[in-house]
């Protein structure tokens, strides 16, 4: 039911954007809030639904399928998880409530230039009066454009990691705004002695704890990719049935049929891998969870580009055009596969945890 509703709501997302109506704007985010999607993962004591990761994964699948550009995984899944993890007391309730209602949207700023997927920050925070002074840089902040604030990991002395909330209007934050190849609005930022108040420090945490929150976002991104790939396969099969060459539909050619079947099997195997990870998530155990997430990541992104690329290929020229949706799936998975670690990163993590 959640799935059907989401599919209907998101159905015109791509077409609307192609017409330039800007579905990636705040109206979309407001709609997500109204549907309760932002409150799904927020704990009940903070006005959230205290929902299940599985519901989030269903939504993520549908968003991938619809080529949605809303920063749902960054600003709902990941940001909610980080605030819930680190903040405390009234501040926690206020922030989670505002995020769940869609009144405020935050973008996590975890990664740094020249540091690839390392989570240990080089951004430093020093005490300054009653507050803090931030310096350093963060890169590839999904959903950073238009966000109310950034959730910034920073080093607070030796090995102590703090999570800071920095409002975007701060004059000492220098953003560079750009689109990634999947058309998503993204920013890098430099912090040049950014002065923050005492409230800006949401709390102290560890890299391990952040990595655990990231694991939920990773699964959501796998689900997003699954949705995208399944749709790319459907579109391709449909195209082959309508496109005629040499006097018959392309779908009559067995070699093309078998290519589609291989794409289908690969995509469906990602679904199985995702279910495996969900089952492990339910049973708990940090190492098992990490292993299952990395397993799902490797399975997903080992296959993703090949499936989406073949979808483009089987369309011939039309697959290369931006007017037609199929190429956008390829671009989307190319961004996703290097968002929270890549295949080699997660294969290494998987092997370290093997036992």
């Amino acid at each position: 039911m959640l799935r059907d509703g989401a599919r209907r709501y998101l159905a015109d997302d791509f077409a609307t954007r192609r017409r330039g109506d800007g579905a990636a704007g705040s109206a979309g985010w407001r709609g997500y809030a109204d549907l309760g999607w932002l409150a799904l993962l927020a704990p009940e004591d903070a006005g959230g639904l205290g929902g299940d990761i599985e519901d989030v994964l269903i939504l993520a699948e549908e968003m991938g399928r619809a080529l949605s550009l809303q920063p749902y995984i960054a600003s709902a899944v990941l940001a909610t998880g980080l605030v819930d993890l680190v903040a405390a007391g009234q501040q926690r309730l206020d922030l989670l409530g505002a995020m769940a209602s869609g009144d405020r949207r935050f973008a996590p700023a975890l990664y740094e230039p020249g540091r690839r997927y390392r989570l240990e920050p080089e951004v430093r925070a020093v005490t300054s009066g009653a507050g803090y002074r931030l310096s350093g840089a963060k890169s590839l902040i999904a959903g950073g454009a238009g966000a109310d604030g950034l959730l910034v990991t920073a080093l607070l002395g030796d090995g102590v990691v703090g999570l800071f909330l920095a409002a975007m209007e701060n004059a000492a934050i220098f953003p560079t705004r750009y689109a990634t190849i999947d058309d998503a609005d993204t920013i890098d930022v430099r912090f040049e002695q950014v002065e923050l108040g005492p409230d800006a420090l949401l709390g102290i945490t560890t890299i391990d704890a952040i990595d655990d929150v990231l694991d939920e976002a990773r699964l959501a991104l796998c689900a997003d990719t699954l949705g995208a790939l399944e749709r790319a396969v459907e579109i391709t099969a449909d195209y082959l049935k309508t496109r005629t060459q040499f006097g018959q539909p392309l779908a009559n050619f067995q070699a093309l049929q078998h290519s589609v079947v291989e794409m289908y099997i690969d995509a469906d195997s990602i679904r199985s891998s995702l279910y495996n990870a969900i089952a492990v998530f339910d049973r708990g155990g940090r190492e098992d969870r990490r292993r299952a997430v990395s397993s799902c990541w490797v399975k997903t992104f080992d296959a993703a580009k090949g499936i989406a690329g073949m979808a483009v290929h089987l369309h011939g020229g039309i697959g290369m055009t931006t007017e037609y949706p199929v190429g956008h799936y390829l671009r989307r998975v190319m961004v996703s596969e290097r968002s929270f670690g890549d295949v080699e990163h997660h294969l290494a993590r998987y092997m370290e945890l093997a036992g």
């Binding site: 599985e54 099969a237 049935k241 779908a251 067995q254 049929q257 078998h258 589609v260 079947v261 291989e262 289908y264 099997i265 469906d268 195997s269 990602i270 679904r271 199985s272 891998s273 279910y275 495996n276 969900i278 089952a279 339910d282 049973r283 299952a292 397993s295 490797v298 399975k299 080992d302 294969l347 998987y350 092997m351 093997a354």
Partner: protein, 394 residues
């Protein structure tokens, strides 16, 4: 989609494990782990133990002596047997002849055959494939002609697994040549010692012996050995092939490979395997484990009753990927063991021939070569892809 093993399931798993640990004969397990097919005589005591426990027939209804398990329990049992190196015993009787008799056989036939099957006293083979009818059963040529109280069967079967040690064949034969090809088939129980039946073993490249040609020349079979109504063989065959295609023994085998490969890599480090290569093989092992995790869930989704069009394609997809992963697993073991695997080890002899080679080297090429057959049996990969296309996309 959520599937959690219940506390009962986990208790069942523990029971299976301890039974296997206590009862499975080590010699049988060693031979099975090596990858050679066990013989009837060596499997027989094991099947009797299972029979005594009530576990001899995981696929049969409880009323006929089957284990009466849920699909998940069957799955757990097969997986644990795989991990423990328990052999598949009397496969055709347990997975094919038994289920078809339970479903379509007369009470007399059930009475005569089911209990001996359970006890391992009565082995079956399956006579479907013919030289001119591989994946295409409709073109079957073996004939069974009614003559008084008998059917007289004439024809030729090929790729008949276990025919050389079976007591009976469930033989698919044409009983009516006048109707359209599928409609004129029947399934008949044919004693392998009937005059006119000749079994010729086929040497296969894996070096093991398991398939045969069966020549049938005017073999007489009592008419009541025909299963169900005459000319209902096509329905019965489809029922059986469905049974075969959801058979998921691949997972037990794959888990068996995955479990033993890390130790194999460690061992070979002492026999000249360079550390850098070991790292590469560990990567391959990890990737295979990741793929098998997903494959396992593809099976569990079917068992948990996931619905929708994908269900019709699932068995075919599992068959294609299962066979491919078996080849990868076997290839990986061969790569780790290097030159030590190339001698032809006899099926009865797990002792290594190459000086200094580990016992684990025996059977590695046999098993790899055999898995190429897994890309064919039950319908080739290409047939499976045709099925998936028709089911989902046509």
């Amino acid at each position: 989609m959520k599937l959690a093993f219940s506390a009962e399931d986990e208790a069942f798993r523990a029971e299976v494990r301890s039974f296997l640990a206590a009862e499975l004969p080590p010699g049988l397990a060693r031979r099975e782990a090596a990858g050679f097919h066990n013989k009837r005589a060596t499997v027989h005591p094991w099947q009797q133990k299972l029979c005594a426990k009530g576990w001899a027939a995981p696929n049969w209804p409880a009323e006929f002596g089957g284990a009466g398990w849920s699909p998940i329990q069957r799955y757990i049992f097969e997986l644990e047997c795989g991990l423990a190196n328990a052999p598949e015993y009397s496969l055709i009787a347990m997975s094919m002849a038994g289920p078809v008799l339970c479903r379509f056989g007369s009470p007399e036939l059930q009475q005569e055959f089911l209990e001996p099957m359970l006890k391992g006293d009565c082995w079956f083979c399956q006579g479907f494939s013919e030289p001119q009818a591989g994946s295409d059963l409709a073109s079957l040529r073996t004939r069974a002609v009614r003559d008084g109280d008998d059917y007289v069967i004439t024809g030729q079967k090929i790729w008949t697994t276990d025919a050389h040690m079976a007591d009976y064949m469930i033989c698919l034969a044409r009983t009516d040549a006048e109707v359209k090809p599928q409609a004129g088939l029947s399934m008949i129980i044919m004693p392998m010692d009937a005059p006119g039946v000749t079994v010729r073993p086929i040497d296969t490249i894996d070096g093991d012996a398991h398939v045969n040609e069966v020549f049938i020349e005017d073999a007489r079979v009592p008419a009541h050995y025909l299963i169900g109504e005459p000319n209902s063989g096509w329905t019965q065959a489809k029922y059986l092939l469905g049974h075969e295609r959801t058979h998921n023994a691949y997972l037990g085998m794959l888990r068996r490979y995955l479990a033993r490969i890390p130790a194999l890599i460690d061992d070979e480090l002492c026999r000249g395997l360079p550390a850098a290569e070991a790292g590469e093989y560990r990567r391959r092992h990890a990737r295979l484990a990741i793929d098998v995790d997903a494959l396992e869930w593809s099976v569990l989704r079917v068992l948990a009753g996931e619905e929708g069009p994908a269900l019709g394609a699932a068995a075919s997809a599992i068959s294609i990927r299962g066979a491919a992963y078996l080849l990868r697993a076997a290839d990986l073991e061969m790569a780790i063991l290097g030159p030590q695997v190339v001698p032809r080890f006899g099926p009865d002899d797990g002792a290594p021939l190459v000086a200094g080679a580990p016992p684990a080297a025996a059977g590695r090429t046999t098993q790899y070569l055999y898995w190429w057959a897994a890309t064919i049996f039950g319908g080739s990969d290409e047939i499976q892809r045709n099925i998936i296309w028709s089911t989902l996309f046509r």
